[in-house]
């Protein structure tokens, strides 16, 4: 699949539209001109989520009621028009100018983004790694979104009970009330566990060893129940642990057991990357993970999602950029942003290059020397 064109209306400071090449695209321009905004627009149009903010309404231009992103997506000779409307309280999705339910809209265009924000995956807390996994899974198995949101809802309900129980003198009367939520958390939790471990196994097979010389990473799904019993009967073990920890849960006022406390262990040359890796190693590790995600997607759908890299030169050195772009060449449509014109110049013979100024793409004869 590739994104042929995108148009933005009332979205941040962006204006106008652009026609991308199916291969490598380099967007360059001075800072604060809208390069990242355009990448964000592409990612939003594909996933309905932003990599810069958890509230896409923040991207609506000041004083306007709604922002619209429109794109045309090509799969072979088949072209579809997709549109995302962002309003203060809602997001609406359209396919070929007609409303399309979100769950069917997703998948018409898919994107994987490599951004500064994503560095949390290799640098930050487990929660960023769980999000990375879950987002990757949604791309190939949309029903997982339903499972996960049901789990989170049941968890919220259970936590409300635990909080109340922790504040009363008679917590025992809450046991009967907590049990039905635990039952649901066990069923849904077991599904989340098997889906995530299954995905990590697929991802592991696709980690490119030696992509960046001898930098290799290993990954493992680290369940919070590791070492507590037989993980092959996850539901049974989760039930047992919930029973054992219930008193502690009531004392502390929130849930202590379940896949919402799991992690993805990432080892770089045998060491935990988040604690012992250098910045460069962390970037390489994230790239290797993103590329593995790209491969798994291809294994499932026999096509590649588009690959976005925000602020290419800030995140990667020249050698890594070269290796990365060579790897992506001929595989996935790639759109990168950079503040350095020299990078655009270096790739001009094999890439479509675009200059952005004040949110707009300049035509070839408007382009300036920066």
């Amino acid at each position: 699949m590739h994104l042929r064109t995108i148009e933005a209306v009332n979205f941040r400071n962006l204006a106008g539209s652009v026609e991308f090449s199916p291969g490598l695209n380099v967007i360059y321009g001075a800072n604060a001109q809208g390069k990242s905004g355009w990448l964000e627009a592409v990612y939003l149009l594909a996933t309905t989520k932003s990599f810069r903010t958890s509230h896409p309404r923040e991207a609506i231009r000041h004083g306007e009621k709604e922002a619209i992103l429109r794109g045309s997506v090509a799969r072979g000779s088949l072209v579809k028009e997709i549109q995302l409307l962002i309003a203060e309280t809602t997001k609406q999705t359209f396919l070929n100018a007609k409303r399309e339910p979100m769950i069917r809209y997703l998948g018409n265009l898919d994107a994987i983004a490599f951004t500064a924000e994503d560095m949390q995956v290799v640098r930050g807390a487990p929660d960023a790694r769980r999000k990375f996994l879950d987002r990757a899974i949604f791309g190939i198995q949309p029903s997982f979104l339903g499972t996960l949101s049901e789990y989170n809802r049941a968890l919220k309900q259970k936590n409300a009970l635990l909080r109340e129980a922790s504040e009363t003198d008679d917590p025992l009367r809450f046991l009967d009330l907590i049990a039905p939520w635990n039952d649901q958390l066990i069923t849904l939790g077991a599904e989340i566990h098997s889906t995530r471990t299954g995905y990590v196994d697929k991802l592991r097979e696709r980690l490119s060893p030696g992509l960046f010389q001898h930098e290799t990473i290993e990954i493992r799904y680290k369940s919070s129940l590791d070492g507590k019993g037989d993980l092959s009967d996850y539901a049974g073990l989760l039930r047992e642990r919930m029973g054992l920890r219930l008193k502690n849960e009531i004392a502390i006022g929130y849930s202590l057991v379940g896949p919402h406390r799991d992690d993805l262990e990432i080892l770089f040359d045998g060491y935990e990357i988040a604690r012992f890796g250098s910045s460069g190693q962390q970037r390489s590790a994230l790239l290797i993970l993103d590329l593995a995600q790209l491969s798994v997607y291809h294994d499932v759908f026999e096509e590649h999602p588009i690959f976005l890299i925000d602020d290419l030169d800030a995140e990667l050195d020249r050698t890594r950029i070269e290796i990365l772009l060579n790897y992506l060449d001929g595989r996935a449509q790639t759109i990168v942003s950079t503040s350095k014109r020299s990078i655009a110049d270096r790739y001009r013979d094999r890439a479509a290059t675009f200059q952005v100024q004040s949110g707009q793409f300049l035509s070839a004869n408007q382009r300036t020397n920066m």
Partner: protein
């Protein structure tokens, strides 16, 4: 200063309290009322007053009714050995439309939701348990309870809670099935429903 004369503002404010009505709709409704002939408005006022005066909750099943007990609970032709538990009166109507179910009902008036402060005390559960006690003659004994709460997190938890409560009393407890809508094409099913239908498949 008010945008409109006080009575108009008051009407708009009252409409705004209704579910699904925002400021613009409230304004539109208020001006519609102002334009309608008096007798039409009277009919609306009477209908609202009458519904509040005449409609009560059935003392047996908590359904909305103008006679107590309601027509399902009072009907001699209904099967008294089976009770279908639903969240809201309109869920009952949906099941009744099938004309396939001839048992009795019980309306909970909601589902468990600790976030919103709704526990078993806030639902009509106590009088459900009372209905399960056979009277002295031993007649009218309930043999089965169908849990037809909504297929979402709160509905599931409510069904689960009731099952734990009722099974020890020796009553058969069943849950309505979840899966594909009948008469539709597979291609129209969303992923979550399809996933549930595949998980809950059965041998034929």
């Amino acid at each position: 200063m008010l945008d409109y004369a006080e009575p108009v503002t008051r009407l708009i404010d009252e409409f705004k309290r209704l579910p699904g009505i925002g400021h613009k709709s409230a304004q539109r409704l208020a001006f519609h009322i102002l334009k309608t002939p008096q007798e039409e408005t009277n009919r609306l006022v009477d209908a609202i007053r009458e519904v509040k005066e005449k409609i009560v909750f059935c003392s047996v099943c908590n359904n909305l009714t103008d006679t107590d007990p309601c027509r399902y609970c009072a009907s001699p032709s209904r099967d008294r050995s089976i009770i279908c538990v639903v969240e809201e009166p309109y869920n009952l109507v949906a099941i009744e439309k099938t004309r396939e179910y001839h048992g009795l009902y019980h309306v909970l008036h909601g589902a468990l939701s600790p976030i919103r402060g709704i526990g078993p005390e806030e639902l009509q559960i106590k009088n459900l348990i009372e209905r399960l006690r056979p009277d002295e003659s031993g007649e009218g004994e309930v043999r089965e309870m169908i849990l037809a709460t909504n297929p979402n997190t709160e509905g599931e938890a409510t069904a689960n809670y009731l099952a734990r409560l009722i099974k020890p009393l020796g009553v058969r407890v069943t849950r309505i099935a979840m899966g594909l809508p009948v008469g539709g094409d597979l291609e129209y099913a969303d992923e979550v429903t399809m996933h549930k239908a595949l998980t809950n498949r059965h041998d034929i």
